[in-house]
Protein backbone atom coordinates (compact mmCIF):
# COMPACT_ATOMS: atom_id res chain seq x y z
CA UNK A 1 0.00 0.00 0.00
CA UNK A 2 1.47 3.35 -0.96
CA UNK A 3 2.20 5.99 1.74
CA UNK A 4 -0.55 8.35 0.55
CA UNK A 5 -3.20 5.64 0.96
CA UNK A 6 -1.87 4.74 4.42
CA UNK A 7 -1.96 8.41 5.36
CA UNK A 8 -5.54 8.78 4.16
CA UNK A 9 -6.58 5.62 6.02
CA UNK A 10 -5.04 6.94 9.24
CA UNK A 11 -6.82 10.27 8.83
CA UNK A 12 -10.12 8.54 8.17
CA UNK A 13 -9.68 6.24 11.16
CA UNK A 14 -8.94 9.24 13.39
CA UNK A 15 -12.01 11.04 12.05
CA UNK A 16 -14.22 7.97 12.64
CA UNK A 17 -12.92 7.64 16.21
CA UNK A 18 -13.54 11.35 16.84
CA UNK A 19 -17.07 11.07 15.47
CA UNK A 20 -17.82 7.99 17.58
CA UNK A 21 -16.73 9.93 20.71
CA UNK A 22 -18.84 12.94 19.69
CA UNK A 23 -21.90 10.74 19.06
CA UNK A 24 -21.40 9.11 22.47
CA UNK A 25 -21.16 12.54 24.13
CA UNK A 26 -24.24 13.74 22.27
CA UNK A 27 -26.31 10.88 23.68
CA UNK A 28 -26.47 12.75 26.99
CA UNK A 29 -27.90 15.89 25.41
CA UNK A 30 -31.57 16.70 24.91
CA UNK A 31 -32.82 17.43 21.38
CA UNK A 32 -32.95 21.13 22.23
CA UNK A 33 -29.37 21.10 23.52
CA UNK A 34 -28.23 19.35 20.35
CA UNK A 35 -29.88 22.01 18.18
CA UNK A 36 -28.47 24.80 20.36
CA UNK A 37 -24.99 23.29 19.95
CA UNK A 38 -25.47 23.09 16.18
CA UNK A 39 -26.63 26.70 16.10
CA UNK A 40 -23.68 27.91 18.19
CA UNK A 41 -21.15 25.91 16.13
CA UNK A 42 -22.65 27.36 12.97
CA UNK A 43 -22.39 30.94 14.24
CA UNK A 44 -18.81 30.27 15.39
CA UNK A 45 -17.68 28.88 12.03
CA UNK A 46 -19.26 31.77 10.12
CA UNK A 47 -17.46 34.23 12.41
CA UNK A 48 -14.23 32.27 11.83
CA UNK A 49 -14.77 32.46 8.04
CA UNK A 50 -15.41 36.23 8.21
CA UNK A 51 -12.25 36.79 10.23
CA UNK A 52 -10.21 34.63 7.85
CA UNK A 53 -11.57 36.38 4.76
CA UNK A 54 -10.56 39.71 6.33
CA UNK A 55 -6.96 38.49 6.50
CA UNK A 56 -7.04 37.63 2.78
CA UNK A 57 -7.87 41.19 1.69
Amino acid sequence: MDPNTVNLLLQLAAMAAKLAIEVKQQSGLTDEQLLDAAEKNGADVRAQVSAFLETLK
Partner: protein, 145 residues
Protein backbone atom coordinates in the same frame (compact mmCIF):
# COMPACT_ATOMS: atom_id res chain seq x y z
CA UNK B 1 -12.17 5.36 -0.29
CA UNK B 2 -14.28 8.35 0.76
CA UNK B 3 -17.48 6.45 0.02
CA UNK B 4 -16.30 3.61 2.25
CA UNK B 5 -15.52 6.12 4.99
CA UNK B 6 -18.91 7.81 4.62
CA UNK B 7 -20.61 4.40 4.88
CA UNK B 8 -18.58 3.65 8.02
CA UNK B 9 -19.61 6.95 9.62
CA UNK B 10 -23.26 6.34 8.76
CA UNK B 11 -23.00 2.89 10.37
CA UNK B 12 -21.41 4.36 13.53
CA UNK B 13 -24.13 6.98 13.67
CA UNK B 14 -26.98 4.51 13.32
CA UNK B 15 -25.54 1.82 15.59
CA UNK B 16 -25.00 4.31 18.42
CA UNK B 17 -28.39 5.91 17.98
CA UNK B 18 -30.62 3.16 16.65
CA UNK B 19 -33.36 3.79 19.22
CA UNK B 20 -33.57 7.50 18.48
CA UNK B 21 -36.57 9.14 16.85
CA UNK B 22 -36.28 10.60 13.34
CA UNK B 23 -36.33 14.06 14.90
CA UNK B 24 -33.42 13.26 17.20
CA UNK B 25 -31.44 11.67 14.37
CA UNK B 26 -31.98 14.84 12.34
CA UNK B 27 -30.83 16.97 15.31
CA UNK B 28 -27.70 14.84 15.61
CA UNK B 29 -27.07 15.08 11.87
CA UNK B 30 -27.20 18.90 11.84
CA UNK B 31 -24.94 18.97 14.91
CA UNK B 32 -22.52 16.69 13.02
CA UNK B 33 -22.65 18.89 9.93
CA UNK B 34 -21.90 22.05 11.92
CA UNK B 35 -18.90 20.52 13.70
CA UNK B 36 -17.69 18.99 10.40
CA UNK B 37 -17.82 22.38 8.68
CA UNK B 38 -15.63 23.76 11.48
CA UNK B 39 -13.09 20.98 10.77
CA UNK B 40 -13.12 21.83 7.05
CA UNK B 41 -12.48 25.52 7.75
CA UNK B 42 -9.69 24.62 10.19
CA UNK B 43 -8.08 22.40 7.53
CA UNK B 44 -8.52 25.17 4.94
CA UNK B 45 -6.76 27.75 7.11
CA UNK B 46 -3.93 25.36 8.01
CA UNK B 47 -3.43 24.49 4.32
CA UNK B 48 -3.41 28.18 3.35
CA UNK B 49 -0.94 29.22 6.06
CA UNK B 50 1.31 26.28 5.10
CA UNK B 51 1.31 27.52 1.50
CA UNK B 52 -0.53 24.42 0.26
CA UNK B 53 -3.30 26.38 -1.44
CA UNK B 54 -3.45 29.85 -2.93
CA UNK B 55 -5.58 32.75 -1.77
CA UNK B 56 -8.31 32.22 -4.38
CA UNK B 57 -8.81 28.59 -3.38
CA UNK B 58 -8.78 29.42 0.34
CA UNK B 59 -11.40 32.10 -0.28
CA UNK B 60 -13.57 29.77 -2.39
CA UNK B 61 -13.43 27.06 0.29
CA UNK B 62 -14.30 29.59 3.02
CA UNK B 63 -17.28 30.89 1.06
CA UNK B 64 -18.54 27.34 0.42
CA UNK B 65 -18.20 26.57 4.16
CA UNK B 66 -20.19 29.72 4.98
CA UNK B 67 -22.89 28.83 2.42
CA UNK B 68 -23.19 25.30 3.80
CA UNK B 69 -23.30 26.68 7.34
CA UNK B 70 -26.12 29.10 6.47
CA UNK B 71 -28.14 26.29 4.86
CA UNK B 72 -27.50 24.03 7.87
CA UNK B 73 -28.63 26.81 10.19
CA UNK B 74 -31.90 27.06 8.23
CA UNK B 75 -32.46 23.36 8.96
CA UNK B 76 -31.64 23.95 12.65
CA UNK B 77 -34.24 26.75 12.76
CA UNK B 78 -36.82 24.52 11.00
CA UNK B 79 -36.18 21.74 13.52
CA UNK B 80 -36.49 24.19 16.42
CA UNK B 81 -39.82 25.39 15.08
CA UNK B 82 -41.26 21.87 14.86
CA UNK B 83 -41.08 18.96 17.26
CA UNK B 84 -41.60 16.14 14.82
CA UNK B 85 -40.52 15.34 11.25
CA UNK B 86 -43.67 15.19 9.12
CA UNK B 87 -44.10 15.33 5.31
CA UNK B 88 -44.55 19.12 5.33
CA UNK B 89 -41.46 19.84 7.42
CA UNK B 90 -39.44 17.33 5.41
CA UNK B 91 -40.35 19.16 2.18
CA UNK B 92 -39.11 22.43 3.68
CA UNK B 93 -35.84 20.90 4.80
CA UNK B 94 -35.04 19.20 1.47
CA UNK B 95 -34.19 22.51 -0.25
CA UNK B 96 -31.61 23.31 2.43
CA UNK B 97 -30.14 19.81 2.20
CA UNK B 98 -29.72 20.33 -1.54
CA UNK B 99 -27.93 23.63 -0.90
CA UNK B 100 -25.50 21.93 1.50
CA UNK B 101 -24.88 19.24 -1.11
CA UNK B 102 -23.98 21.88 -3.70
CA UNK B 103 -21.55 23.55 -1.29
CA UNK B 104 -19.97 20.17 -0.55
CA UNK B 105 -19.45 19.61 -4.27
CA UNK B 106 -17.58 22.93 -4.44
CA UNK B 107 -15.53 21.95 -1.38
CA UNK B 108 -14.65 18.61 -2.94
CA UNK B 109 -13.65 20.27 -6.20
CA UNK B 110 -11.49 22.90 -4.46
CA UNK B 111 -9.85 20.42 -2.12
CA UNK B 112 -9.18 17.76 -4.73
CA UNK B 113 -7.97 20.17 -7.38
CA UNK B 114 -5.91 22.60 -5.35
CA UNK B 115 -4.48 21.00 -2.22
CA UNK B 116 -1.26 19.28 -3.30
CA UNK B 117 0.22 18.10 0.00
CA UNK B 118 -1.03 14.51 0.68
CA UNK B 119 -1.35 15.05 4.45
CA UNK B 120 -3.26 18.32 4.07
CA UNK B 121 -5.45 16.77 1.37
CA UNK B 122 -6.19 13.71 3.56
CA UNK B 123 -7.26 15.94 6.48
CA UNK B 124 -9.44 18.01 4.19
CA UNK B 125 -11.00 14.91 2.60
CA UNK B 126 -11.66 13.33 6.00
CA UNK B 127 -13.46 16.49 7.18
CA UNK B 128 -15.54 16.71 3.99
CA UNK B 129 -16.30 12.98 4.28
CA UNK B 130 -17.63 13.53 7.80
CA UNK B 131 -20.05 16.22 6.62
CA UNK B 132 -21.08 14.08 3.62
CA UNK B 133 -21.88 11.21 5.98
CA UNK B 134 -24.04 13.42 8.23
CA UNK B 135 -25.78 14.87 5.18
CA UNK B 136 -26.38 11.33 3.91
CA UNK B 137 -28.12 10.48 7.19
CA UNK B 138 -30.31 13.55 6.88
CA UNK B 139 -31.24 12.58 3.30
CA UNK B 140 -32.16 9.07 4.41
CA UNK B 141 -34.42 10.48 7.13
CA UNK B 142 -36.13 12.79 4.66
CA UNK B 143 -36.71 9.95 2.21
CA UNK B 144 -38.05 7.59 4.90
CA UNK B 145 -41.79 7.37 5.52
Amino acid sequence: MKKLFAALLVAVFFVTGCDDSQYRKAARAVAGISSGLKSIQDANEVAFHAGEIDQDSARAISLAVADASFANDKIVQELKAIKKLDPQSKAQIIAHVTAIGESLKQLNDQGVLHIKNPDAKAKFNAAVGGVEAALGILKQLLEAN
